[in-house]
């Protein structure tokens, strides 16, 4: 019985590459990983947004309307619906003048119980140190 922690650190802008979308879909896939593992073993992801990556968290993304693809906002909501541990770097939000109310911070309306946390970079650094593996993108 063991738990391995994976730190997904999203530093890329949305849409120009698939990096942030795939980080979220991979993190979410932790929900079904048990089929490959022994009883009691777990993979626990934490998702951190830093740098330009914080722009993935903006509310109101209309990518589905204009391009017919799921928005990154929707993936972010799904990650919260599944109660993943999500952190957004406060300094990077402040630098870009993004207020908390512009962000996808919870998925309460669809049943998510865990909110994303806006935290100082030092908290994210601690996550990087505590996880077993780091996945930057």
């Amino acid at each position: 019985m063991a738990t391995r922690k994976l730190g997904f650190v999203i530093r890329s802008l949305p849409y120009k590459t698939e990096a942030s979308r795939l980080a979220l879909t991979h993190a979410i896939s932790s929900q079904t990983v048990e089929i490959y593992l022994e009883d009691g073993d777990l993979v626990e992801p934490v998702v951190c947004y830093i740098g330009d990556g914080v722009l993935n968290c903006l509310k109101g993304q209309q990518a589905a309307k204009h391009y017919g693809v799921t928005s990154i906002e929707q993936h972010a909501r799904n990650s919260l619906l599944l109660d993943l541990n999500v952190m957004i770097c406060k300094e990077d939000l402040d630098k870009r003048g993004i207020p908390d109310n512009a962000l996808v911070l919870d998925a309460e309306d669809i049943g998510g119980e865990t909110a994303a946390k806006v935290v100082p970079y030092s908290e994210i650094q601690k996550v990087m140190e505590s996880v077993d593996h780091l996945l930057f993108c």
């Binding site: 391995r4 698939e18 795939l22 991979h26 896939s29 490959y36 996945l135 993108c137």
Partner: protein, 120 residues
């Protein structure tokens, strides 16, 4: 001897990141390590069979087959990423597997080291 899991999302031709992933796998296997290579996003382009070798383009199909033959190398493509690009099951190169993304996470569970090449 350890296990290295590499995830690569970069396209087959152009970025040379897939070339990096395959050459790093080769070097690791030669030193007695085990390697799992996970292809997602545009990285799934490597999984398509029938790639013609041209001098101007990366051609990794042969090296992948050599690595598979060692028995210490697995290569798996993301099923949805492949289908979205029109690579169906019968178009997969020999020896490559297809699974959903949780395969990658399971591979990292038992890995000593993970290298995630997450962009194009």
């Amino acid at each position: 001897m350890g296990k290295l899991t590499i995830g690569c999302f970069s396209s087959l031709v152009g970025s040379l990141s897939l070339d990096f992933a395959v050459k790093l796998s080769e070097a690791a296997v030669q030193k007695g390590h085990k390697v799992d290579l996970w292809l997602s996003g545009n990285g799934t382009m490597l999984a398509k069979k029938g790639q013609k070798a041209f001098k101007d383009y990366s051609h990794l199909a042969k090296k992948v087959q050599e690595l598979l033959a060692t028995g210490n190398f697995q290569i798996t493509a993301c099923e949805a990423c492949a289908e979205a690009r029109g690579y169906h099951k019968d178009e997969m190169a020999e020896g490559l597997k297809r699974f959903s993304m949780d395969w990658y996470l399971a591979s990292t569970f038992s890995a000593d080291r993970v290298l995630h090449i997450g962009g194009d």
